[in-house]
């Protein structure tokens, strides 16, 4: 186990280094941010002084080296636009996205897996057909459109839920969360629903396909031959058998939603990192882009690591040292 962790740690460092080069080169190829940093009517002198101050006159590899050195001391730089440390900026926005993502992915899984299992267990039932129809919709209708429909229906027409924003928040672990207040929860509901529909559809599909296969397996037949009830078989045999792909998709979806919930955040004016990164791209706020993309890479590495640990917990055949 320790060997596994160390190996993964070294791998992670290598991956992060490669990513940092790619991100740095990629972002620096986008355009010259100096025009955003200083006002257009600044004199040539001011302009050159600024270029030198930011190090833009140096060759790319020197800029990269300086960036890495600053990184080692935990300094991701300051945002050109907000003029505050980048990390502070990102972390002030991250909780909003985190709670939105968690609500969406966890909700989609908790609902999608049982419904998908049911649809796989009784594929010909009317209820299974309804579930599958909803999942087809979740797959094929674009997120932004559903978001607009949700706002129109629940906020504009019915007036049950707010159309956007985070609502009041409460403090936990030194961070502000919406889900802790009643009204915050109502703000969270629609964007989370919007974001979860695609994931719900995916979980339904995954659970359904896995269940259909598992239900025909010898494992299930043998359990039936032992007189185990259908609920026991579904809950204790089938669920465990289909858990691996579900955990995989859970991890992937969690990571990618956390990183790129842009569309939903924009529609519901949810002040998360998705909106921040879009703004930073359009304003050429390089330090934010670089730090954000590296953070995303780091997130994925962490998620993959946790998913691998979950694999080992779920399937004894994948445990290190489990071979006799």
């Amino acid at each position: 186990m320790l060997g596994f962790v160390i190996q993964r740690f070294l791998q992670a460092i290598a991956v992060m280094l490669v990513i940092s080069v790619l991100v740095f080169v990629g972002v620096y190829g986008i355009g010259n941010p100096i025009d955003v940093v200083i006002s257009p009517d600044a004199t040539q002198q001011i302009r050159e002084a600024a270029i030198r101050a930011y190090g833009f006159d140096q060759p790319l590899w020197i800029q990269y080296r300086d960036f890495l050195l600053r990184l080692l001391s935990g300094d991701f730089g300051r945002s050109f636009i907000f003029n505050m440390p980048v990390l502070e900026l990102i972390f002030s926005r991250l909780p909003a996205t985190l709670e939105l993502t968690l609500a969406a992915v966890v909700g989609a899984t908790l609902l999608g897996v049982p419904l998908g299992m049911y649809a796989g267990y009784k594929p010909d039932s009317a209820f299974a057909r309804i579930v599958m129809t909803v999942s087809v919709l979740g797959f094929s209708v674009p997120t932004f459109w559903i978001g607009l429909v949700l706002i129109f229906a629940f906020a504009v027409q019915l007036g049950w839920l707010p159309a956007g924003g985070r609502g009041p928040t409460a403090m936990l672990f030194g961070v502000e969360w919406s889900f802790l207040t009643r009204e915050g929860l109502t703000h969270l509901l629609l964007p989370a629903l919007n974001l979860s529909l695609f994931k719900f559809a995916m979980m339904v599909r995954l659970a359904r396909a896995g269940t259909r296969e598992a239900i025909l397996s010898d494992v299930v037949r043998f359990a039936r031959a032992a007189g185990e009830s259908e609920t026991t078989i579904l809950r204790r045999h089938v669920l465990r058998l289909i858990a691996i792909p579900i955990v995989t998709v859970f991890g992937l979806e969690f990571g990618s939603t956390l990183a790129f919930a842009v569309v939903t955040e924009t529609i519901f004016s949810w002040p998360g990192v998705g909106k921040l990164i879009i703004d930073s791209i359009s304003l050429l706020d390089r330090p934010v882009m670089v730090a954000y993309l590296m953070l995303v890479a780091f997130l994925f590495i962490m998620i993959n690591f946790l998913v691998d640990i979950a694999y080992a917990a779920l399937d004894p055949r994948l445990r290190a040292g489990a071979k006799r």
Binding site: A225, A226, G227, S229, R236, P316, A322
Partner: protein, 323 residues
């Protein structure tokens, strides 16, 4: 006294695109308490489906379309799944051919045994583990206490099949359907498990239906033999008598293809041809197209003939029967 299991005219069919597959078609036999009955026939002859029918484990598109299965005098055909579930594992159990697919790879042996116990009674974990350990020891698994925490992939094929047998024996059923439980194992392990099964069945007073396509295995174990061909029983009776003088040409063919029956160096004889599709069987004897004795009479279905303990379905039995 009536038999433990009485099957009469059992017919289990599968609806398919190419027609109705008559996997089991008019099968009747008895199994007495504590008896070991061998059920042989080549691949696809309906042995497994007969076993599944007894346990009520036929899934759509299959269905028991006719006949009766009585266990301890109680009719099983037409029972609800709930009622059948209470019998499965408790009164009738089953062991499958491939021990590497029947056990759940992600659950420990102990957990799977506890689940099989919990299906029929509520026992404390300690008591369940106690019973599980006892049974593992009985089926010849060394260090059973350790094995409870093991996972199937940590055991050899023979050990896995022993675990499956232990699970089948857990609630002391009166009948176990053993569907080729040793076919996937190597020969020395096969022989061990055969011997152990015979002893276990005797000690537990459990009757066995031992399914196999290998006459040699069955003859080491069973007292009575049932030979199936294309979903029907073609011959049955005491195993010694059948081995000495088979009445049905198909049984003769099976015997001739046994390595032990051939002289050294001599080529094994095979039955020419292959079994007809169960979706469109010929109207008469299903074996006739492959049978050297066949003539026009075989276009009509052969009636069942009985002589004491022996029975056969053939227009041209190999041995003249005293009238």
């Amino acid at each position: 006294m009536s038999a433990l299991l009485e099957i009469r005219d059992l017919a289990t069919h599968f609806a398919s695109a190419t027609g109705t597959v008559k996997a089991v078609d008019g099968v009747s036999f008895d199994v007495n308490a504590g008896e070991i009955v061998g059920l042989v026939g080549e691949s696809g002859s309906g042995k497994t489906i007969t076993g599944f029918s007894i346990l009520g484990l036929i899934d759509a598109p299959g269905r028991i379309v006719a006949g009766s299965i009585k266990l301890e005098g109680r009719e099983l055909v037409g029972l609800s799944q709930g009622e059948l579930r209470k019998l499965r594992g408790k009164r009738i159990a089953m062991v499958f051919q491939d021990p590497s697919t029947a056990l759940n790879p992600v659950l420990s042996i102990g957990e799977q045994m506890r689940m099989a116990l919990a299906a029929h009674e509520s026992v404390s974990r300690a008591a369940a583990d106690e019973r599980a350990r006892d049974l593992l020891a009985r089926v010849g698994i060394p260090e059973p206490a350790k094995r409870l925490d093991a996972y199937p992939h940590q055991l050899s094929g023979g050990m896995r099949q022993r675990v499956a047998i232990a699970i089948a024996l857990l609630n002391r059923p009166s009948l176990i359907v053993c569907d080729e439980p040793t076919t996937a194992l190597d020969v020395s392990i096969q022989a061990q498990i055969l011997a152990e099964m015979r002893d276990l069945a005797r000690d537990f007073g459990t009757a066995l239906i031992w399914i196999s396509h290998d006459l040699a295995t069955v003859s080491a174990l069973a007292s009575r033999l049932i030979v199936m061909y294309a979903g029907r029983i073609v011959e049955d009776g005491p195993i010694g008598a059948i081995l000495r003088s088979p009445r049905h040409p198909y049984t003769r063919g099976l015997l001739d293809s046994l390595p032990s029956m051939a002289a050294p160096g001599q080529e094994l004889r095979q039955i020419p041809g292959s079994m007809p599709s169960l979706a469109n069987l010929p109207p008469g004897c299903a074996f006739a197209p492959r049978c050297t004795h066949a003539d026009a009479a075989c276009n009509a279905a052969p009636p069942e003939r009985r002589d004491g303990e022996r029975g056969w379905r053939c227009h041209h039995p190999l041995i003249a029967v005293p009238a």
